[in-house]
Symmetry: C2
Subunit: 357 residues, 2 copies
């Protein structure tokens, strides 16, 4: 605490990302990064951009990157905006669309834990909609008066998807409120709502290149939606930072999107590995939530998650443990390469056997 | 306007950066970019970082870059924080240190026009302190009750510096309020306040690599100050975006700071060119404000700035014109290479002669 901080800064509980350890080499299954490198075409594009004109500001509106993103979705440039990671775009949604003196916005009690932090920073009131015992979202919770809605689909840290018909019901009921769908993990098997944009001007879909495009280190996310919502995001961006996506990131991201063959290939690999690891964990007696993401959310009937987390860490394997009521006996395990996951499975089997003795 | 926008988004007047034209090739003297490329060591560092691990998130606390910045100033890592350009860090200061329900913060009526935009976005009340007829800041204006202070030193778009003794007086009077000094242009001849950090825990100095380090396209800025202020900035950063500076930017910026010889060389070149161009313009009859920055703020007694701006543009030379009372007969001219400035001077002479006919 400091006397120089504002009340907001004193009260806020900032988001804590998964650790990026420096003490030793780990098998890193804790931040949902992609185990495969980005397309070689991305690196080539970055090299070219670095040699060109780093002394000049980037295009503040990112038009060529927006075009590259829009095209495969059959959307126009005006339906797309880019950000320094999807976190930034999600943050911009709060002052853009939600009212500090308005009705509370809604999001799940178990979801991306950054949402309540954004709300605190921008002083937006919010109400938590509890998931059911199976970690499913209850559509009825979102068919009530509210100041806006945020849904991660697939959800984090569960990996579970929300059916498109539920999303559509929510969009229809909330035609005067903005509904933000955080599709950070959708490429790994979720049902995307992008197809609903043409019919629902209240829908904003937020995506990232950090996971499925292997570009967590480059920081590029994008938002898709009707022209009015995109303009709202741009107004906020132009009130914070004229140039949020640097030249190298714009060039690299453009090429990542264009190399669709590479994208499809690594995406399929990760889905195959995920499904194999899920079966193996079930054979060990784990409860494994049905994941549409590049991670698994798992719980063992005998070995507490906290113990598993610690013992794995000692063996050089990092996973994510959330010390939070309702999910504190679960681990979130990012999907690595087949080799990494075999080492993970071996370590898990060993720990569970020892604990059972 | 859209029914989906918040009141804040409807009311705000976003900042408009100088144009990044795509229609033809211009001599670009409109956004204070550096005419020289960054150090070759920067490009090499970026290439290495791209080949390494773009699939992994960057270090969220940017420790090695912070160390590289801290060292030449004789500061510690805890006195430094990095951002996606200095604009982002300036934006973070508003929720970090200023109160929506508190006293108005203070900044000059003629200064970086992003300040009132940040205040609007974060709903911080502000009061403008008018510059005098010579565009000097009046210290007395800042020796009054306030909720915080922002000063650009050297100021933009005038290029004029504030003496260190005035800054010290302001810091001493405001020991319970945060004073943010925006030193974006200080490397070109301003007096830096970094030496005052040890004595004034209420001082935060914000810098950028966009101008003096030729890295506008990479988006890196930094803040220097006491531990408590740096922690305040970090709390806000961790409430918006865990990783604001990507891997390539961290690697490139580190090397830019380390290559001090290159930095000194291009900085001196720009200062020499600026002083030469200033004399020439004075010979043409221009009023040229005394600049400590990499631009000149100039006014011609006969030829209106608006006309000069338009005619220069027609001739392929972009400068910046602010259509704002008090400065609407001035042009802000960024310092390019000697060759570019000779073409600029020729064009100006031609336009002024024709207008005088």
């Amino acid at each position: 605490m400091s006397r120089f901080w504002s009340q907001t800064t004193k009260n806020i509980k900032p988001y804590v990302p998964g650790e990026q350890p420096k003490d030793r080499k780990y098998i890193k299954l804790n931040t949902n990064e992609n185990p495969y490198p980005p397309s070689p075409r991305v690196l080539e594009a970055i090299r070219l951009a670095a040699d060109e004109t780093l002394r000049l500001y980037p295009d503040p509106s990112g038009d060529t990157l927006r075009d590259a993103i829009a095209s495969p979705f059959g959307l126009a440039r005006e339906n797309v905006y880019i950000g320094n990671g999807s976190d930034e775009l999600l943050a911009f949604c709060f002052p853009a669309f939600f009212e500090p003196e308005g009705l509370p916005i809604l999001f799940a009690d178990i979801t991306y834990s950054f949402y309540p932090v954004y709300a605190q920073l921008f002083r937006i009131p919010y109400r938590l909609a509890p998931l059911d015992a199976q970690f499913n979202l209850s559509v009825e919770d979102y068919l009530q008066e509210n100041g806006g809605i945020l849904i991660a689909n697939p959800n984090a840290p569960t990996g579970m998807g929300v059916p498109l018909e539920s999303i559509e019901k929510i969009l229809r009921y909330n035609e005067n409120n903005v509904v933000v769908l955080d599709e950070a993990y959708v490429d790994f098997g979720g049902e995307s709502s992008v197809g609903l944009i043409a019919r629902f001007p209240n829908l904003l879909v937020v995506r990232t290149l950090s996971k499925s495009y292997s570009l967590a280190g480059l920081r590029v996310g994008f938002a898709l939606g009707g022209k009015e919502l995109i303009e709202g995001i741009i107004r906020v961006k132009d009130s914070v930072n004229s140039y949020t996506v640097d030249r190298l990131a714009q060039a690299g991201a453009r090429e990542a999107i264009r190399d669709d063959a590479y994208f499809q290939e690594i995406k399929s690999k990760i889905v195959r590995t995920r499904n194999r690891v899920a079966s193996r964990l079930e054979n060990f007696g784990f409860r494994v939530l049905p994941s549409q993401a590049n991670f698994l959310f798992v719980s063992h009937p005998q070995t507490p998650a906290r113990i598993l987390f610690q013992k794995l860490r000692e063996q050089g394997i990092l996973v994510r443990f959330f010390d939070k009521p309702g999910i504190d006996n679960f681990l979130r395990v990012s999907i690595g390469t087949d080799g990494e996951m075999d080492l993970f499975l071996k370590a898990v089997a060993r720990i569970c056997e020892n604990e059972a003795l």
